[in-house]
Symmetry: C2
């Protein structure tokens, strides 16, 4: 690894970028540096497309000499973690379709005068994450402005013969399941999560009926599956509190807040940025998924999809044999 | 056209977006609203990929009650023009490859509390421009933050059997030519330009050796063609001052600055954001291009590519039979 040139000349910077690219697929005929990039597709294919931005103050707080966060606010992010997170958020969405990522483009807006280290570390974080997940870096755009740090990643992947797992395919009787454990992501997981690419791929091959990655929180994202799947008839979900994989971070966060298990459960139900896969599958397929599951990542059934009758809540939480309506407290983007 | 819902609920906004999409290609199997979009490719293909951001204060100044610009600063932008510009900047790059655009994604960061009108108008400007240029809107990302307005567009196009026109293909003896007229873009052209898509397509079919869209200024972008084309031997460019298509806006801008034709020529040579196509072609191909040129857009030869001997300047400007070195004063991005 070399260091970025300490000059404000864009072309010197691009020259350095080109020397620090991740391993590139030979299908990328033309990478960064021309008007646009050229990527070959060898046959009939379904492409998966995604764009996502991480914004300073919204998705991360930058580590800096004057920045001191309380423990419940979680750690400040290094520029490398920002680069990694921007890519991995997109990868998590590709995973939720069951796709295979190929190449990405990155657009960064740097606070004017932030210095060479910031852009160097963001780029290296992104480039390393690209190498980790086999993603080529096809192009990008680096600019400075009188604004906070913004990093946008757009990603192109492909289905390689599988049918994409959409949100709107859940049917009454399907099992609801989730990978990993949930809640308390703010304590660090939101910067260091693993996008569930191989798991997502396994799941589309095993015929899941609907899939989403948990970015806004289990309750909200489950509600979204139910809403999108309510076509021929309305569907709702029943999930069992006892089955919820409450993460250690959720428990630790509840403790930091001076509270106990009930609060940890709420974190698991509503916290955003878990980036785990939430999916539904017919019972016979679920059995096969569990039997053949080859990953260290846990996978767990939470409940079932049901037909939602008039007046019934979208999601019910079953606790000690009782069903109560689950309020949707998960993250809502305010525009 | 309906108006966007005046609520800060992201889902209500997305529902409205879905009702105001441009005409979508049937190849877009899954558009905005799921984890990612799905686009079908029917055969072996070369895809063209581009990302670009427009940043408030850098690429536009928003029209607002308190904003008064001097005439030389050009007009403030409406939100619709911002949406259009973000798309058209990407389209101009696709044009410079000779590609055909298919679909785009848009990521917007809104100043918090900016109100519903701003996001509505940006989206409508983008959506209308998509309809104009036959681009589907595959997906996006809308967020608010404590920062200025940012709009990123990523675009996917395809070559449909043609070879992409890269920057690095110019050879000694090639004619240098340009579409349209140059300079003074700040007076309004930078918000209302036409991306030269059909012209670019015609030019790749007619075997241009190198092509770029003029975004940083003729002198700088021509230098880039020369640099990228200096592989087996160094190449430079000679252009004739008399041949330069100086735009009316360049003349008007010079006048506003209290100067004359010399200053107008400088604007044509160095101003950014013309978004015209600058290309090179072997002489016999150039003759055919001129003969068969079917567009209202003018096209004009500026000079020739030459082998650059040691100590010679990259670009020489020929005036009244004399060759002088052309200083590269065009727009340089400061990081």
């Amino acid at each position: 690894m070399s260091h970025a040139p300490d000059t404000d000349d864009e072309f010197a910077y691009i020259k350095w970028l080109r020397s620090e690219l991740p391993p590139q697929t030979p299908r990328l005929e033309l990478g960064p540096g021309d008007d646009a990039a050229i990527l070959r597709v060898e046959q009939k294919e379904r492409l998966v497309l995604k764009t996502d931005s991480v914004l300073e103050g919204q998705h991360f707080i930058l580590k800096a000499p004057g920045v001191h966060l309380k423990e419940v606010q979680g750690p400040a992010a290094t520029p490398e973690e920002v680069g990694r997170k921007a890519l991995c958020r997109c990868l998590s969405d590709i995973a939720a379709m069951g796709g295979v990522p190929i190449a990405c483009m990155a657009a960064v807006a740097l606070p004017r005068g932030a210095g060479v280290k910031l852009r160097e570390q963001i780029f290296l974080g992104l480039s390393k994450a690209c190498a980790t997940y086999g993603v080529s870096l096809a192009g990008g755009d680096t600019q400075s402005w009188n604004g906070p740090l913004m990093l946008n990643v757009s990603l192109i992947g492909e289905m390689q013969g599988e049918r994409p797992a959409i949100r709107g395919g859940a049917a009454a009787g399907d099992v609801i399941a989730v990978t990993g454990s949930l809640g308390g992501s703010i304590l660090g997981h939101h910067l260091r999560f693993e996008p569930r690419l191989t798991e997502g791929r396994f799941l589309v091959r095993h015929g899941v009926s609907a899939m989403i990655d948990i970015s806004d929180g289990l309750s909200g994202d489950l509600a979204r599956i139910c809403e999108e799947s309510s076509r021929r008839y309305e569907v709702g979900a029943d999930i069992a509190a006892e089955a919820l994989p409450v993460s250690k971070a959720a428990r630790r966060l509840a403790k930091l807040e001076g509270q106990g298990g009930e609060r940890a459960l709420e974190h698991a139900l509503h916290d955003g940025e878990d980036f785990e896969l939430l999916f539904t599958a017919p019972a016979f397929r679920w059995q096969r998924i569990v039997r053949e599951w080859p990953f260290d990542t846990p996978v767990r059934a939470l409940g079932v999809v049901r037909e939602r009758k008039k007046g019934e809540p979208a999601i019910r939480l079953l606790r000690k044999g009782e069903a109560q309506e689950l309020a949707l407290k998960s993250y809502v983007h305010k525009l």
